[in-house]
């Protein structure tokens, strides 16, 4: 199994590279890596046994090696659930489902206990989910344990009571008192009924089985369809919490169908293209980002791969872009939805149509050769009628052995978009300046459009410019690319674009400058010429600078239109502005510090002179009052003046004007008071002296 898988991995890697709208690719490695990311246990274990089962099942289908610790933790929680007396039928159901993959050992006594409890649950069941979990649990334990006596005593009765929930349109109700029916419930019911059939000790009434078959066919009548051929089931949004979404619903129906098809010997008569449509639905959703969706997708695809109704086969393509020049061969892989091998088949190319045309097929029906080493069906040479362009190829897959044809379904015809590319031959490219009147060739130059060109031409407004070349496909037919433009750009960045027309292989444009003078805004001077030839199917699409032409146009008349302003580069408009640099005033030149200090000393000199002069004059303090009260006032007066001067120093250093004035107010009042006292005392003293 593993070797077969690795063989396919190589193929699938190649397959996953290509992309196309209506192309459905089988499950590939991207799913495997996504599975490992999505199913990451939280702190070593999953939240519930349901999630554990989903993870284990997904890993099993995708062939991812089980991690031993994952199995160990799963076994621990399984044995806990099995041994617990408070577990419900739902707990047993998921525990046994997980156990089916983890293969833990369950105690014989425990399994006996489970069987009896599940049997009791079946007989006491009243809603669809009760039946689903209890019957499902019994089926699982029958498969897992060696106990042979697991069977339903009243299988017919259980079948009838489950069948009672069904509706006339093939949908089912969850319980008898819930009028809403859904396709999701139908899937669950089918699974429960399949379990009932397999547990039945005697044959179930055949008429019941055939009515159920009719129900399934009715259910498939209500299937919905996408444009790309994908089919799916969806419930009408009636009740928020029971609505499951198309993926869960389709998955549920498919699981039920597979389970039922496995237990009944009858042919369900479901057309194979319905199964193929379901396969397209599950493959078309890509890689879901949600663990539950992922499990539903993978589990459903596994059902599709192993069901007894029909197994859809998917065509895969290593590449849908083929190059004629490289002589690529058309390669087709055939596999099941999960990418495993299929019995030998023949792939036929039955038709090819150019895209968008309804003409008859371009090719005759032919068979592709099977290459055993790569496992691909190969058409080495594309038919001669296939040229460069995009096509829709129609394939048909035929099984060699008619025996398993009942099971494999290939789809009647598969339409696949294929692009064919190639190198386009460019020939006879030349550029010429013509005289307007007679059409005489003034100067003609040959161009090499594949290489570099530096043509230099000159013309006046009475002349014409002619550019011509031929395009030929590898098959020698004419080719009309999507884009053929000639661009003339004046020195002032004014651009003119002309579409080059063609007649068959020949592409030619003639620019009559007399008629274009106004369009050129009378701008004489150098025009750079640029030729664009581009197409998706053209491998050598080109954008080449041809050279330049020096135009001599007449002077612009008064009312001539002005050239439009060139569009401003949006980057310059919305992009970052130039950085603003602040220009500060240069600091004033300061004198050297020594000089300033010298002058500071010099300013003290007059003070010294003043003091010396005072000494010389013989100034003394004999007049200072000697009595204590006036002396105090005299000292306070001087202290007050000193305080005001000190306040001025503080004003200079840190205080503001208001703080200074406030303090000055207090100091001033004090100073006026003591000043008045001392000065009036002095005045009185001198007056006394005078009068004396």
């Amino acid at each position: 199994m593993a070797r077969r898988l690795t063989g396919f991995l190589v193929l699938l890697l190649v397959v996953s590279i290509c992309e196309a709208a209506f192309l459905f690719q089988p499950i590939s490695d991207s799913h495997r890596s996504a599975a490992l990311e999505l199913f990451t246990p939280d702190h070593g274990s999953f939240k519930s046994l349901e999630e554990t089962y989903e993870a284990l099942r997904t890993f099993q289908i995708l062939g991812i090696e089980k991690k031993p610790d994952l199995t160990a933790t799963a076994c621990r929680s399984i044995s806990e659930t099995v041994g617990s007396s408070s577990s419900t039928a739902k707990d047993f159901f998921y525990a046994l489902k997980a156990n089916g993959i983890a293969e833990c050992k369950i105690d014989k006594n425990a399994s006996k206990g489970i069987i009896s409890r599940l049997n009791a649950a079946v007989s006491g069941a009243s809603s669809l989910l009760d039946f689903y979990y209890s019957v499902g649990g019994l089926v699982l334990i029958k498969d897992q344990s060696s106990e042979a006596d697991v069977h339903l005593a009243d299988a017919d009765g259980v079948f009838r009571s489950v069948k009672a929930f069904s509706q006339s349109d093939g949908r089912w109700r969850y319980s008898s008192n819930n009028p809403e029916s859904s396709a999701f419930a139908a899937g669950i019911a089918l699974e429960a009924l399949a379990g009932t059939v397999s547990l039945a000790s005697s044959e179930i009434d055949q008429s019941l089985i055939s009515t159920l078959k009719n129900d399934i066919i009715k259910l498939f009548d209500s299937i919905e369809k996408y444009d790309d051929g994908a089919l799916y089931f969806d419930d009408k949004l009636v009740d928020g919490h029971e609505y499951q979404g198309p993926l869960s619903t389709t998955s549920s129906v498919l699981r039920g169908l597979t389970a039922f098809a496995a237990v009944t010997a009858e042919n369900l008569n479901l057309p194979g293209d319905k199964m193929l449509g379901l396969a397209k639905f599950f493959l078309g959703i890509g890689v879901p980002g949600d663990a539950k969706d992922f499990f539903n997708q993978i589990d459903s695809l596994a059902c599709l791969e192993s069901n007894r109704v029909s197994i859809p086969l998917i065509l895969s393509f290593p590449s849908t872009v083929l190059s004629l020049t490289r002589k690529d061969s058309l390669k087709v892989g055939v596999s099941t939805v999960l990418g495993s091998e299929v019995p030998s088949v023949t792939v036929r190319l039955v038709g090819a149509f150019a895209s968008g045309s309804k003409d008859a097929s371009l090719v005759e029906s032919q068979e592709l050769n099977f290459d055993k080493t790569s496992g691909l069906h190969i058409l080495n040479d594309l038919p001669k009628s296939i040229d460069v362009g995009s096509y829709t190829f129609v394939f048909e897959v035929v099984l060699h052995e008619p025996e398993p044809e009942e099971f494999y379904f290939t789809g009647s015809q598969t339409k696949v978009p294929i692009s064919v590319t190639g190198l386009i031959k460019i020939e006879n490219s030349e550029i010429a300046v013509l005289d307007s009147d007679l059409g005489n060739i003034e100067s003609q130059k040959t161009l090499d459009l594949a290489g570099k060109n530096a043509i230099s031409l000159s013309a006046n407004h009475l002349q014409k410019l002619r550019l011509s070349f031929q395009l030929t496909t590898p098959r020698g037919r004419s080719f009309k690319p999507h884009q053929v433009f000639l661009k003339l750009r004046h020195e002032s960045k004014v651009e003119h674009i002309f579409v080059v027309g063609n007649s068959g292989k020949q592409f030619e444009i003639v620019l009559n400058f007399l008629g274009l003078v106004e369009k050129f805004f009378y701008l004489s001077g150098k025009y750079d010429m640029e030729l664009t030839v581009g197409d998706a199917a053209m491998e050598n699409s080109l954008l080449v600078a041809i050279g330049h032409i020096e135009l001599d146009l007449p002077e612009a008349p008064e009312k001539a239109p002005r050239p439009p302003p060139q569009p401003v580069d949006p980057y310059s408009r919305y992009g970052p502005k130039a950085e603003i640099t602040h220009i500060f005033r240069a600091p004033e030149k300061r004198p050297p510090q020594e000089l300033s200090l010298v002058f500071l000393g010099l300013t003290i000199l007059p003070l010294l002179g003043f003091l010396i002069g005072l000494l010389r004059l013989g100034v003394n303090l004999k007049n200072f009052p000697t009595k204590p009260v006036p002396a105090t006032f005299a000292i306070l007066f001087h202290v007050g003046i000193g305080a005001v001067l000190l306040l001025y120093v503080f004003f200079w250093v840190k205080l503001d004007l208001f703080q200074t004035l406030k303090l000055l107010g207090f100091l001033g009042v004090f100073l006026v008071f003591v000043g008045h006292r001392i000065l009036s005392h002095l005045a009185a003293a001198s007056a006394k002296l005078k009068s004396a």
Partner: protein, 117 residues
Amino acid sequence: MGRTSSTKEDAGALFHSLRSAYAATPVNLKIIDLYVGFAIFTALIQVVYMAMVGSFPFNSFLSGVLSCVGTAVLAVCLRIQVNKENKEFKDLPPERAFADFVLCNLVLHLVIMNFLG
């Protein structure tokens, strides 16, 4: 030559008479004169400094010089009021004049400090 020497002598005599006349000035007026001289010289030194290095913190220069000049002017006013030979201020006691001088100086220096920057 003789004329030059006589000019010198005249000048000498003039200075001599000036000095003797000034010697009669009361001491308190001499103190005020000394103070005025001190203020003017300080202002001069600042002007010289400004002439040498430029007037960049111009408000500082102005406040420094004006502080000196202002206080010199105030001192001159004080001298006028204190001088007994000035008859018009005869009734004004010198203490009152000194109080004016102190008050004006305080106001002047408040402004100077504000202007100093």
